[in-house]
Symmetry: C2
Subunit: 209 residues, 2 copies
């Protein structure tokens, strides 16, 4: 059972998601993937995001992808109950996933049941393509990235910050993004007080004697 919570900014839906989808029989450890902000390490907003995750009251361990490899990431994921993929630059994050081989490992683990929480770039990268992030994030942060496919954990491509309240993402930029990429992708615009909850394939087997 695939369980994902894709945030735009606000964390309000996280405690309920953990209660519903994380193991209930032990203290939780959250794996924190910081790589989307690797060019901004130490910036106030990156520290603030990690602090908000720590404030949830669970153990938090960093799962850094850049410079790592698939085996190391796999071993790290063995020790976490939930994965939290933080925000930043979508292409930097995808590059970190791809070059480490973590893309395959993460997708396999999430498909096998590891709950996934994304925020902003971490939400976008869960979809089938990162192309719709091109206007919002600078692809030049990952010059070696040639394959824009995301993790493919959902058909939806989140467009975070769709209410235009975060200064780097004004409404006109959101509008251009929806206009340019809306016909080729299943875009789901999320306001900063919204999240996308994905808990299944969209179907169920029913009786029909």
């Amino acid at each position: 059972m695939t369980s994902l919570l894709l945030l735009s900014l606000g964390h309000g839906a996280v405690p309920g998601f953990l209660a519903d989808h994380a193991p209930a029989d032990r203290a939780l450890t959250i794996g924190y993937v910081p790589d989307a902000a690797r060019a901004d390490a130490g910036a106030a907003w990156t520290v603030a995001e990690r602090d908000r995750v720590v404030a949830l009251g669970h153990a938090v361990v960093d799962v850094r992808l850049t410079g790592s490899d698939a085996a190391t990431v796999a071993a790290a994921l063995d020790g976490v109950d939930v994965l939290y993929v933080a925000g930043g630059n979508t292409f930097a994050l995808l590059d970190a996933l791809r070059t480490s081989g973590a893309d395959v490992v993460v997708a396999e683990r999430v498909r096998a049941g590891l709950p996934y929480i994304g925020c902003s770039a971490g939400s976008i990268v869960a979809g089938p393509s990162t192309e719709p992030a091109t206007l919002m994030d600078d692809p030049a942060e990952a010059p070696g990235l040639t394959d824009g496919r995301g993790l493919g954990l959902t058909d939806a491509v989140v467009v975070p910050h769709a209410d235009g309240k975060l200064p780097p993402y004004p409404l006109e930029l959101i509008g251009r993004t929806l206009d340019r990429y809306g016909s080729d992708h299943e875009l789901v615009p999320l306001c900063d007080d919204e999240a996308l909850l994905i808990t299944g394939p969209g179907w169920k087997v029913v009786e029909s004697a």
Copy 2:
């Protein structure tokens, strides 16, 4: 809102599906697509299937695809509230959809809200690929068919009659089908008293302030 009910054989889930997804403000007209059984027209099992649809108590009009064209099918669909795509040979059905141009018309209408009921071949063809039907149905019934893609209305490929109770589809054939195609397709085996209910993309936007 996409609404599909994909049957294996039993019709038990149909009345509830119609109550939930068909227009409630008028008598219903069901469009009946018979083309999967075009090589078996008049056979007892094809007559029995149509009789079961008639027995639902709504008006039933045939929407024949073979020899038709996209404009004619589109006009016919204007007059129906629900589409019922009957069983038979999956490849004959797909060939009828493709050569008439109805594949595009039907997919558009269903994505726009026309409720779709499939049965057996009509269920398989709603998925992204008909390849998993290769052992169960004879592709030779549609020798001109070169493109095996289905309507793509769901990611699931139904494997009907998975309880092996229908004589043409013994359990060993179901087993070989799951074994051969299970790794490349999202197979959903359905017993004859089950159906697959598809009513959305598998996600919902939730509050997260």
